[in-house]
Amino acid sequence: MSAVTDAVRVAPATNPFSQSVRDSMVVAKRNLIRMSRIPEMIIYGLIQPIMFVVLFTYVFGGSMQIGNSTSAADYKNFLMAGIFAQTVTFATASSGAGIADDMHKGLIDRFRSLPMARGAVLTGRTFADSVQTALTLVVLAVVALLVGWRVGSDGDTNAGRVLGAFGLLLLLGYAFTWIGALIGMSVRTPEAATSSGLIWLFPVTFISNAFVDTSHMTPWLRHIAEWNPFSATVQACRVLFANPGQSPSDAWPMQHPVWASLIYSVLIIIVFRTLAVRKYRSATA
């Protein structure tokens, strides 16, 4: 049958892993091109964290107690790790909305009918979202420096440790985009993905050490905050940035924040990637 010989032209990739990487890169490129053509999305994504930096610094700054200090400068240096971490988790919403949009428009069907790696559509999207997250972090760090944030304000640090902190932030953001991917695969419309992608992030990021010193919380809330995966990354950043307000708590994630942050992020990736890809395989738009 001549038809079959034709089909052989599209030879199956010999190595499933390299095919998966290649396909993910093709999809990531597609999403990056998209993002570059919708710059307003990136700009809106920046306004909110910049607003938080400014509002928290100037409105809350003078009335917050961090450790034993009530100085606005200490709060400013305390705050940034929290804002950075919160910002990277907000990538969840855009990731979810993008995937829901692809479902809605029939693109997921097209991808699923192609001989491509099963996880590549979602992996490509999460990679692209991480690139956007990295850009956002750069801009945010500049704004933070402008309002007076300084690394090493409470001890010594070095470039390696600062970069390490940003690495942990990116990893956390990447982990959260997989939560977004699962949400995107589970809802009907991009609008639903945006709102359901954001709503739960508020308790997760506020019941934490991001904006206040957890030692002033009631004990049960403090426990939640100290074991919150999100808090681990914030604490790790404060340690690596050598910024004030590091939690003295006995809770394991507060004592070993870098390890805790790594473990939490990897766990989130494994669990949510598995669920999201399973959903993709059986998805029907």
Binding site: A3, D23, R37, L107, S113, L114, P115, T284
Partner: protein, 328 residues
């Protein structure tokens, strides 16, 4: 030898809706099967099962000689799918869309680029190649979507309602493309709710209703089942209805139906054009002035009506059901 598309006893249920209720299909290589039916009949579900997007509850399917349930990935290498929506990325240009699809069919970047250029020219999209598809018209998008399905010249193609929502001109254009494709030896399964379209493009037609194939055959065979041809006369004067009816009685093979308000008379006949000429002569001899006369063959609309007892509905209720089905 089974055809390029072969299905036996496909069943798929969504909750308590039996979207497919034992569908058998057999499409010989190089032919076109038109899957014809109203919204919600199960056409899309059948396509989704055959293109590996949906796993049937039971039944088996073989596409391009490959078992769909056992080797879905091998099937995906041999098929092209153009779905109900133009599934192209609206922020990517036409060229970028085709290149991406080519690469995901595992072509090398360079080969994918060359193939994209070829298809853009072939589908009359070269001028718009570097514009985001957001700026394309509906017809252009559908053409691009079809081009994307053809990137690797798959031996078997599936098109789910390819011309739904297109204006007549664009529909004609797409028909031409499809005909060219089929003349190149591609096997095609096409769903449509336009009876005219199935008549125009398909070698064989399977009429689907409520998840069943209720009739199969060539367009002519299906029409023959509905009864033969008829002569239709529209007389100029209302007073002529009575004498014209007497003339027709002499030629007809059955009762003459009269639509008074339209001054139209219809009678079943056999004998084709020759008989029509005789009818005209006789009417002329009697001095009956006519506005219109013709030999009418049954349309697929008539086929549908006689098979299901209802016209092919394109109602809202059915539409919703189809959407519900698609959403699951």
């Amino acid at each position: 030898m089974p055809g390029a598309i072969y299905a036996e006893g496909l069943v798929k249920t969504f909750g308590d809706v039996r979207a497919l209720d034992g569908v058998d299909l057999d499409v010989p290589e190089g032919t076109v099967l038109g899957l014809l039916g109203p919204n919600g009949a199960g056409k899309t579900t059948a396509v989704r099962c055959l293109t590996t997007l949906l796993r049937p509850d039971s039944g088996s399917a073989v596409v391009a000689g490959i078992d769909v349930l056992k080797h879905p990935d091998a099937v995906r290498r041999s098929i092209g799918l153009s779905g109900q929506f133009a599934a192209v990325d609206e922020y990517l240009t036409g060229r970028e869309n085709l290149q991406m699809v080519g690469q995901l069919y595992q072509m090398k970047a360079k080969a994918a680029k060359a193939r994209a250029d070829e298809l853009l020219a072939q589908f009359d999209l070269a001028d718009a190649a570097d514009r985001p598809t957001k700026t394309y018209s509906g017809g252009m998008r559908r053409r691009l979507d079809l081009a994307a399905a053809l990137v690797v010249s798959p031996p078997v193609m599936f098109m789910d309602e390819p011309t739904t929502g297109l204006d007549p001109r664009n529909r004609q254009l797409l028909w031409e493309v499809i005909k060219r494709l089929v003349s190149g030896g591609t096997t095609l399964l096409l769903t449509t709710q336009y009876l005219e379209e199935a008549d125009h493009l398909a070698h064989d037609i399977a009429v689907v209703d409520h998840g069943h194939v209720i009739a199969k055959g060539t367009s002519d065979q299906l029409k023959a089942r509905t009864g033969g041809e008829r002569v239709e006369v529209v007389v100029h004067e209302r007073d002529d209805i009575q004498p014209a009816s007497e003339v027709l009685r002499g030629f007809g093979k059955g009762d003459t139906t009269v639509e008074d308000h339209m001054r139209k008379l219809t009678v079943p006949v056999t004998g084709g054009a020759k008989l029509l000429a005789e009818v005209i002569r006789e009417l002329d001899t009697r001095g009956i002035e006519i506005d219109d006369i013709g030999l009418r063959r049954p349309t697929l609309d008539d086929v549908f009506l006689s098979l299901t007892g209802h016209l092919a509905e394109v109602g809202n209720e059915e539409n919703d059901k189809d959407k519900k089905e698609a959403a699951k």
